[in-house]
């Protein structure tokens, strides 16, 4: 048995006579043999509330009657924590099969909410619709695939005696499409005449016609009544098109990477509430005993509710994706067919399962420099931390889950110790966000020694899991014979300079040309294109504190600073100055962003 309404509500007035019906509760049958037995159920059976005695419930029809005539004093006897001229009385009606009427109060219950108004019933001639229909939203619900039966009393019992010589009758407005609903004229109950299929239609919008015949007039009042059709798991899952997906695993081999997806459809709804939901629950099983497959792959399952694709009726689309539960070795080579059984556990029928297939191909990734040698020309004026260039094993920018480390070795070991000491000039560091290497100036002293002309390195790239290694040649050529010691700069930060003139004559860290570069902003207001002095406009500022810049905060504070920024600015997500007002410049403890005209002196009391 189930109740076709989530709550029953009605208004009662002073003077409501004893024996008068108030409303009728219905209970829909789940099995033909069920006959409902109704009872009033109070939380505290021994001490029901004061107003319990005012009502009586017919156990067979579910009609609630007044047991006494309501007086003005009855209203005042009700204590309430709110003021005003209405009181809310909450009753609970339970319904059990007649065979279990002894335990009726322990069966499922529905709320009956009565609004007791501190006034007598309205006189005849008031709003006609009050005689026909209750206040507010009227809606009912029935389960799909269930038996016909009465689901709602249309008459408004509490207003029946207001106009005794009116005759009120109801009917369902005939519509173009067949509606399995009708009115039982004898009882004015709305009846569902046949089982309904939610997957066909989940909401019926009936027009209830109420005819009120007075002495000389016939009034017809229409109002919509919504009937929601409740779902049950009565349709099997199915696949639309393909139940398999081809997956190629090559450069992306890291844990958590997701590949491909297969969709399974189900015309039933799948409630996402409550979280540990039980209806229409899909369970999936990996159909393999191969431990390597079990340890390497997992299937991710998510679902969402859709309507349009199911003929404007809610249904569910399940999505299955293949995901790596660990890194795949760089030299792994394998072809696997992974079968995954999806089971609609609450579907009663036999075809509640669907088998999905993931055809997986894993290719090994060669760690090699295919026919490439690196040659870079380096200015002796370069300052320390100048970025020289990038090195990258084949496809290194696509690598995920393959860890590469780069190192430099000296090609010819038996050169003189003097020449050997030239090789401290260059070093390599692995980039932070990809698997490439960044060559940079690590020591500027060799720039001032004529014997250091050309450096021949061996660039070694080593994969960290299987220690696969590859090498190639790296040639660094100095652009001049030598420079005098006097020109040797004290390594400082370009970012301190706040004007073009002093910037472009300054030797700051990270400057490949040995000179800082001025970027002139053009926008008004706070802008990402702020004016600033930078060692290398290719990499600073670019909103990203790269592996070389993070070695020393003075190289590019615009990308890496964490110090307070004074003036109009927007901080980068992680670090640095994303946007600034006018010119941005930085000292060790603070950065400033301000308009350039700050320069001309303004007076104060010391002038």
């Amino acid at each position: 048995l189930y109740f076709p309404q989530s709550t029953y509500s009605e208004t009662i007035y002073v003077g409501q006579p004893a024996g008068a019906p108030v409303l009728q509760v219905h209970s829909m049958r789940e099995r033909p043999s069920e006959e409902p037995y109704f009872c009033l159920s109070w939380r505290n059976i021994q001490k029901p509330p004061l107003y319990a005695a005012w009502f009586h419930l017919d156990p067979l029809t579910g009609v609630l009657y007044m047991n006494k005539t309501l007086e003005w004093t009855d209203f005042d006897s009700l204590s309430s924590s709110t003021l005003g001229y209405t009181r809310k009385l909450t009753l609970k009606v339970a319904a059990a099969p007649v065979s279990q009427k002894a335990t009726c109060i322990h069966h499922s219950r529905v709320d009956v909410s009565l609004t007791f108004i501190n006034a007598t019933a309205p006189s005849c001639g008031q709003k006609m619709e009050k005689l026909c229909f209750p206040d507010g939203d009227i809606s009912s619900h029935i389960k799909e695939n269930r038996l016909p039966g009465a689901l709602r009393q249309l008459r408004r019992f509490t207003h029946a005696d207001i106009c005794p010589n009116y005759t009120i009758s109801y009917r369902v407005e005939a519509g173009t499409i067949e509606m399995p609903f009708a009115v039982n004229n004898a009882t004015s109950e709305l009846v569902v005449t046949a089982p309904v299929d939610r997957e066909e239609k989940e909401l019926y919008r009936l027009i209830i016609v109420c005819n009120v015949r007075t002495a000389d007039m016939l009034h017809r009042l229409d109002t919509p009544l919504l009937i929601n059709i409740y779902d049950e798991d009565d349709t099997a899952p199915y696949v639309n098109g393909t139940d398999s997906e081809d997956v190629l695993i090559e450069f992306s081999r890291s844990e958590g990477t997701v590949f491909g997806h297969v969709f399974v459809y189900d015309r039933d709804t799948t409630p996402s509430y409550p979280k540990d939901q039980t209806e229409n629950k899909f369970v999936g099983t990996l159909m393999t005993n191969d431990s390597w497959i079990k340890d390497t792959f997992t299937i991710l399952h998510g679902f969402r509710e859709e309507k349009a694709m199911f003929g404007n009726v809610r249904g569910t689309v399940h999505e299955y994706k293949l995901s790596l539960s660990r890194n795949v070795l760089v030299d792994e080579r394998r072809s696997v067919q992974l079968d995954y059984l999806v089971n609609d556990t609450t579907y009663p029928g036999t075809e509640g399962t669907v088998m999905l297939h993931f055809n997986i191909t894993i290719l090994p990734v060669p760690i090699q420099f295919s026919n490439i040698t690196y040659i870079f020309v380096l200015s002796r004026k370069s300052s320390i931390y100048s970025q020289i260039g990038k090195v990258c094993v084949d496809n290194c920018l696509k690598f995920k889950g393959i860890d590469i480390v780069y190192q430099l070795e000296i090609s010819d070991r038996n050169v003189s110790s003097d020449v050997l000491s030239c090789y401290t000039t260059v070093n390599v560091a692995r980039s932070l966000e990809e698997m490439s290497g960044v060559l940079y100036v690590n020591d500027t002293k060799p720039f001032y020694r004529p014997e250091c002309q050309e450096l021949q390195y061996v660039l070694v790239a080593q994969e960290q899991q299987k220690q696969l290694q590859t090498k190639t040649h790296l040639l660094i050529i100095f652009d001049e014979l030598s420079i005098k010691m006097a020109e040797r700069p004290r390594s400082l930060t370009c970012a301190e300079k706040r004007q073009r003139g002093e910037c472009e004559t300054f030797k700051g860290m990270g400057a490949p040309t040995g000179r800082c570069h001025w970027r002139q902003g053009t926008d008004k207001g706070i802008s990402e294109n702020y004016s600033t002095c930078s060692p290398d406009l290719r990499t600073c500022p670019d909103g990203y504190c790269d592996v070389i810049e993070s070695k020393n905060m003075s190289i590019c504070p615009q990308d890496c600073t964490r110090v307070p920024i004074i003036g109009g600015h927007e901080r980068g997500l992680m670090l640095g100055i994303k946007a600034g007002y006018g010119t941005c410049y930085c000292y060790s403890e603070k950065c400033f962003c301000e308009q350039d005209e700050m320069e001309e002196p303004i007076c104060d009391d010391m002038c």
Binding site: S6, T7, Y13, R43, N44, Q46, K47, D76, S79, S80, S81, T82, L83, Y85, T86, R109, D111, T115, N118, T120, P122, Q126, K127, M128, E129, D135, G136, D137, E173, G175, T176, I177, K201, L203, R205, L206, I207, R213, D216, M217, L218, H219, R220, L221, D222, T223, L226, N228, D231, T269, P271, S272, Y273, P274, N280, R304, E305, R314, L573, M574
Partner: protein
């Protein structure tokens, strides 16, 4: 019960739940039952536990104790403990999945109306002091005036800066991490509304707007990117369940439902025509799991909603939509906000849900004012009044001339075609 005396108007003055539980603990019979009740509620399957004899007996005793009718005061000392005491007994009394629960807070009486009047007068004085709105030529932006009034008041400015700095802190966005610390942001918002006088905080929330920029500023008041929006919209019933697992949120939601529920039997659509009660309980929700906010910068027609949807409600879609409707289509809340915002502008007419008919009643209550209801032009919605066609019963007999009643104009005939399908 015997311990709580009757207040004025035959209304019972509630005892504070902290004192009530202290009194219960001093009474051996009451304290033992109170312990049993708490054990009854701890079990996962509460309903069966509550059906067992011992729990029933405990409930029986507790219904006679001051705990049964106790209440809490907003902003009182140890408010949270008071609310926890309240729910420890009322969780047993409710079924748990009710649409509406009784609010643990003491009701706001009519005397509080005057506080609303003072708020409105504060708005009047702000407007009359010749601020932006009354200056000719300057665009009228009451929300900007509210921000100015707040910035010029030390407490308001400090508290406002505190919650903005907390909510606006763009923590580094690593993959799919939320842009800010939502919990800390909610706490800062709650502190703002608890510590700042309503005369400064309410205008920021309920200022009346005549253009989009003003409406967008109003929408941004609670820093929605952090306190309101989330990557995924949860199901509203799931949101309600999460809220009801926290005593503070549960109390604020119950209070909102109680004070803002659209009431057909009132002129303002608010329970006891109490706008202020609705506004206070709405603000009480800000900073909880069910934080509501304006959904867009529409300055003509405000829509307020929590951040949730009814997708995935299964068979509880109607209940979910009812929960959402209490925010999105709430005439009481809308009237209360507009009354506050337009309070300074005369001529504000509350929208009523349906014709408010108060039948003949006891002589000392003031007569009801009946306003003409408005039927939407294109559809009958269940909540609207029915559509009436009247014809003369004896027209054919050419008898006495009768004029059909035309109390309503109905929409065009097509609207009545029942197979008009919409979901």
């Amino acid at each position: 019960s015997s311990l709580s005396g009757l207040g004025t108007h035959g209304w019972r003055a509630p005892m504070d739940c902290l004192r009530a539980s202290e009194m219960c603990n001093q009474n051996p019979q009451c304290s033992s039952r109170f312990r049993i009740m708490r054990q009854c509620l701890v079990g996962r399957d509460r309903t069966t536990m509550l059906a067992n004899k011992e729990c029933q007996a405990a409930l029986e005793v507790l219904q006679d104790s001051p705990l049964y009718d106790c209440r809490c005061k907003r902003g009182m000392k140890k408010e949270l403990q008071c609310l926890q005491s309240y729910w420890s007994i009322h969780m047993g009394l409710n079924e748990g999945e009710e649409l509406y629960e009784t609010s643990p807070y003491e009701p706001m009486h009519f005397s509080d109306e005057f506080r609303l009047a003072s708020i409105i007068s504060a708005m009047d004085s702000a407007l009359s002091k010749g601020n932006l709105c009354s200056d000719t030529g300057k665009p009228c932006n009451p929300c900007l005036d509210a921000a100015k009034a707040c910035n010029l008041n030390d407490t308001c400015k400090r508290q406002r800066s505190a919650y903005i700095a907390t909510c606006n802190r763009a923590t580094p966005i690593t993959h799919n991490q939320e842009p800010c610390n939502r919990k800390r942001c909610h706490k800062a918002l709650r502190q703002f509304f608890e510590r700042v006088q309503t005369e400064f905080s309410y205008p920021l929330l309920f200022c009346s707007c005549r253009d989009k920029a003003c409406a967008e500023r109003r929408r941004q008041t609670i820093v929605p990117a952090c306190s309101f929006e989330e990557k995924v919209k949860p199901n509203c019933l799931e949101l309600r369940r999460t809220c009801r697992s926290d005593p503070l949120c549960r109390s604020r939601l119950a209070d909102f439902h109680m004070n803002c529920q659209t009431t057909p039997h009132s002129i303002t659509s608010c329970p006891n025509d109490n706008y202020h009660g609705c506004l206070v309980s709405y603000v009480g929700l800000i900073g909880s799991d069910v934080t509501p906010n304006y959904v867009d910068a529409n300055h003509t027609n405000i829509t307020i909603s929590p951040w949730c949807s009814c997708r995935g409600s299964g068979n509880q879609e109607t209940e979910c939509e009812a929960f959402l409707r209490d925010f999105r289509e709430n005439a009481c809340l809308r009237n209360a906000i507009q009354a506050f915002g337009y309070g300074a502008d005369a001529g504000f007419l509350p929208i009523t849900e349906s014709q408010s008919v108060v039948p003949s009643e006891r002589p000392n209550l003031q007569p009801a004012i009946i306003t003409k209801p408005v039927i939407s032009s294109n559809d009958i919605k269940p909540v609207d009044s029915a559509c009436v066609f009247s014809t003369c019963a004896n027209l054919k007999d050419g008898g006495q001339k009768c004029s059909p009643s035309n109390s309503f104009e109905c929409a065009d005939e097509s609207m009545l075609d029942p197979n008009m399908d919409g979901s």
